[in-house]
Symmetry: C2
Subunit: 363 residues, 2 copies
């Protein structure tokens, strides 16, 4: 291991020392990073096995290159050679990667050791990366890109060891959304402190990946009633069949079919199912769910927005427009211990596993 | 007073009964409302004195009509006649209004009585409105539009009685941003429960209207240190001269000049001034402040985003990208008692009054 200290100055836990240009910005905002494998003492060097491009980036690459595998390989190689990271310049997005730890610097606090098979939980858009195999094994048909090369984790990066007992694609799918159950667990637990009977929790999009994990997390955190909102009968059936942790109760106590973008409709349905909710969790990736979530929530309650389709202004103005005294949280993708919590939930909830298996098969 | 009950069905506190089309949506989303002055029992009828168009709407109207007052009057009259509310179809935005209560329905819970001079704190974009004076007194040079006519408040609308001891433009300017100090007060008070020494609070944009009120609110709620972040020396001087509630201490204990859109710069400046902050309040109306706010905040702390320029995804991904365990709040414009709290702050903090006076003069 080559550890740098004096020759290029001190490292920053945020990776500022790897930013080549423009100077002074965070790695995610940088046009170009330094992916040199010579490490600083708080870094971790990873031997890459697979890139998981985010959906928006993969779609853009496929469309811009007419689905031609050779052109798509060349495009990704070009980006990584140019930028020192896999950040699609059109979408701005990255993805995550899996690999094996080669070296952990003496000052690294990530708790990783050589040989650990890990997934990075920070975006590829800020991860120094070098590709050495010309992506020869990637046929361009999937956002999962077999890849050899190396990547660097900073002092304050996030990575999780992949569990031995679960298929890698399943673990990746779980880790991709693990921020949602972790924050749901925390908020429901806190709500339980002031309401020992246990809060009522509504999950919009309860039959999806982040939604089903959040439903299981809400239950574990002491919800007295979990209301699952789904858009149509097919998802209602999937949720109805999904078993809870004890093998009998379902993931949701009440299942309602409603259009999450119809504020009056969805709030009436939640109300009829035992609402309004003390905590409402939005896991529906379509725009326009802010009003329904706000109206489904009791005064003094909390809405957690996990959907990236959430509009900040629609949420802020929507609550004001109906005099709703609700706490609205931006769904932070990071909560300490989030990957472990989500992996444990999928191990202990056959219903969540069922939903993930049906949704990762064939992807 | 004509009170409707049986002839057109029951009223909804949200105003659904006033929606003409499309059926079933909230009044804000409606294309057309029914502004008939015949009231439902939980409504309030207001004799309008002035519309305060929101800045985006006023700018659009002025530009689309080449600043011609006659054309601008015709445009506003046309919108209100067509839609039954003053919601600019291009910007989607409204504004607020002032007027005098004509009648309060027997079931109204807003606590208003005939003769009260009020400001509405819900948007014009959801308020039924009829204009009767052809806006003859509006010269089109200001977003403050003298106006005669009537408006309707719903059961769950928000309105505040204008104080006698303050100029109306000042009260309006205060009420326009009163959600920020109210939520800041609540969050800082809550943070004080777990940290009896009092939390450290950073205000990005502390010399502005919402920023100065939020600084005063943070102090009143028990902050141990208020750090005011401003973009340049002129604002630093304004903040330095602003007296606190006791007439001696300034609004901010520490004043730092930094570019809020430079994450590394602003967080370093906040750190040097006594940070990181337990609570960071973003009152800067420019895009790109998410990263700086997140990095200026201690692990376990809270960021409150009041700027409408906030990007939901930049906040969510930004926190994840630097493994920041921070609670991020969408700045809800409504907290119970928000108008009264803000009016009290401006009465008791000469420094805030000073900042408002300098910023409302000539507007």
């Amino acid at each position: 291991m080559v550890v740098r200290t004096s020759d290029r100055g001190q490292s920053s836990p945020l990776g500022l020392h790897r930013v080549i240009e423009p100077a002074g910005v965070l790695p995610q905002a940088a046009r170009r990073l330094d992916p040199d494998p010579a490490m600083w003492p708080d870094e971790v060097l990873v031997s890459v096995e697979r890139l998981n491009l985010d959906a928006a980036s993969f779609r853009q690459l496929r469309e811009a290159n007419d689905g031609d595998p050779a052109k798509m390989r060349a495009a990704v190689l070009g980006i990584v050679a140019d930028r020192g990271k896999m950040q699609n310049p059109v979408t701005g997005s990255g993805g995550m990667l899996t690999g094996v730890v080669s070296e952990a610097g003496p000052d690294s606090v990530l708790g990783l050791k050589p040989g650990d098979r890990i997934a990075t939980l920070v975006s590829l858009s800020l991860t120094p990366l070098v590709i050495t195999d010309d992506l020869a094994s990637w046929d361009g048909t999937s956002e999962q890109v077999p890849c050899a090369g190396h990547a660097i984790l900073f002092g304050r990066s996030i990575a999780a060891v992949l569990p031995d007992d679960l298929p890698v694609p399943l673990s990746l799918a779980v880790m991709d959304v693990c921020g949602a159950p972790a924050l749901t667990h925390r908020v429901v637990s806190q709500a339980g402190l002031v309401n020992p009977k246990g809060p009522v929790v509504a999950i919009l999009g309860a039959a999806g990946k982040s939604g089903s994990l959040s439903a299981a997390a809400a239950r574990q955190a002491g919800a007295s009633l979990v209301i699952g909102v789904v858009p149509h009968e097919r998802e209602a059936a999937a949720l109805r069949e999904a078993l809870g942790a004890d093998g009998s109760t379902g993931l949701a106590d009440q299942i309602v079919i409603a259009d999450a973008t119809d504020p009056v409709g969805v709030s009436a349905a939640v109300e009829a199912a035992g609402g309004p909710a003390d905590v409402t969790v939005v896991c529906v990736d379509v725009p326009g769910c802010e009003g329904g979530a706000i109206l489904s929530t009791a005064q003094g309650g909390t809405v957690i927005f996990f959907s990236m389709a959430t509009s900040f202004t629609a949420a802020a103005l929507g609550a004001e427009g109906v005099a709703a005294d609700v706490t609205m949280l931006v769904g932070n993708g990071y909560t300490p211990g989030h990957a472990q919590l989500a992996i444990d939930l999928i191990r202990t909830n056959p219903g969540v596993r069922q939903i993930f298996d049906s949704r990762t098969t064939g992807e």
